[in-house]
Symmetry: C2
Subunit: 281 residues, 2 copies
């Protein structure tokens, strides 16, 4: 059955005293399951480990995590071709109050759910986006991490639900382009691929890392740096990355209309050759 | 029994799909219970309502909240003289993904727990504090609110557990003094009482608001403005406020030793006269 598992056993609740509930004191990973297997699992583990170091949570044992995930996938009986797993790692139940001894033992729950592929048309023609009015706070202690503190993304994503926007792009409080509410963003400037630095805020997506790596392996360097709003407004191409959909061109944002260009095509082709099959046009 | 209640019924867990667990998508209030009654309940409701507006959660009905809290206090059978209630309001269970229609109906759980009074000596002589190395991100969309996104406070408070610090003071990423991990801070500068502005980050404590109001009623104006670290280092007196302990002088912080001074004495006396009985020396 689709749902949540803890140590291989189906669960549908969590103790109220778990610090995930009380303080969002934890991390998560959202992993694409394709043909019954987790995709880019090593990159997810890497990011999870970075988060555990910053939050002072013991990194769960990788092979137990892999086994528990495999067991959850098997028990969930989802269509193996296309589903999504979510691993939630918290600092567990502890005394009341913000403080805890570090590192805290990790408490892990794993959910497996059906997911719908994005329409092929969106890969060919691009998706509509908006520029969110919600701004990301800067100089966050958890910049780049996928922590359970996600109110900014909740507010940004909720802005997308009123229209037909596939995604909302978010600026930081100092008007730099940072990322989408559930994706990372890449732009083409002077025939170079640029993606915003995530040192101050934002989430370092696994597909973003995989795209940067895959492009580097083909001799294409991605420039990771600050992107001012004006530069975004003037850029030639824009695409989004996300662990579930791979890469998608942007067709529309903030009054600007774009046509998926040569660099975006090159990136999606490279991702497709590297196992992100949705990106094969 | 000490513990959690939902709609008057004892509970010890919450659905994993609750957005409090997944995203910290909610708010909380920590209320002092004295002689079986919630203290400063109206100020807690006011802050909760401000948070509900920003997060797009329907404000729970105030009289139902009051009744449910009274029922939880009664069922908890705590020593009525000194306990603490925590009201957690989340946007509830919803579809997976960050987005939700706003306003979302509120999901409410209420916990009641025993609490220990701070020693009389601390009120007289002050408490030891540290300056946390964890910095608060600036220009937060939830600045001032008591949201469930509290990783910064978790990290800051955890720094206090290694020594004998009663509290950790937190700076923002631009080196301004903001607040304690679980308290607000006031300083005396040139015989004026100053408390940091919380427009960019930090939590607007209920006791902070009550102190400002109570002082204003006696003709003493508190200046709410930015406080640079250097100004803090040079100041004459420092005290903390919190809904549980009222106000406490700081004796030590960051190598600086202080003696509770005239303004701090004046503030605690005013709070004591206004029902914050712990502050009566």
């Amino acid at each position: 059955m689709s749902g949540w598992y803890r140590n291989g056993t189906s669960v549908d609740s969590i103790p109220i005293d778990d610090r995930a509930v009380q303080y969002g004191d934890g991390l998560f990973e959202t992993i694409a399951i394709r043909a019954g297997k987790p995709r880019l699992f090593d990159l997810h583990l890497e990011r999870l480990e970075r988060g555990c170091v910053v939050l002072g949570i013991e990194m769960p044992d990788a092979s137990k995590l892999e086994n528990d995930l495999a067991s959850a996938i098997e028990q969930s009986q989802e269509t193996p071709a296309h589903s999504v797993a979510k691993i939630v790692v918290s600092s567990g139940v502890s005394q009341r109050g913000y403080g805890r001894k570090k590192p805290s033992p990790a408490s892990v729950v794993i959910g497996v759910f059906p997911s719908r592929p994005v329409a092929a048309e969106s890969y060919r023609e691009g998706v509509n986006t908006i520029l969110c009015t919600t701004r990301l706070a800067v100089y966050s202690a958890t910049a780049g991490l996928k922590s359970l503190n996600r109110i900014e993304q909740v507010l940004g994503r909720s802005e997308c639900l009123t229209g037909d926007a596939f995604e909302g792009l978010m600026l930081d409080a100092e008007e730099r382009l940072i990322c989408g509410t559930m994706s990372n963003v890449f732009i083409a400037v002077d025939k170079t691929i640029v993606t915003p630095s995530l040192d101050r805020c934002g989430v370092e997506g696994v597909m973003r890392s995989f795209a940067i790596q895959s492009l580097a392996a083909e001799g294409i360097e991605v420039s990771v740096r600050d992107v001012a709003l004006d530069e975004f407004r003037d850029c030639e191409e824009v695409f989004l990355t996300n662990s579930q959909f791979g890469a998608l061109p942007i067709r529309q944002c903030d009054g600007k209309t774009l046509v998926p260009g040569r660099l975006t095509r090159e990136v999606t082709a490279i991702l497709a050759r590297n196992g992100i099959t949705e990106c094969a046009l």
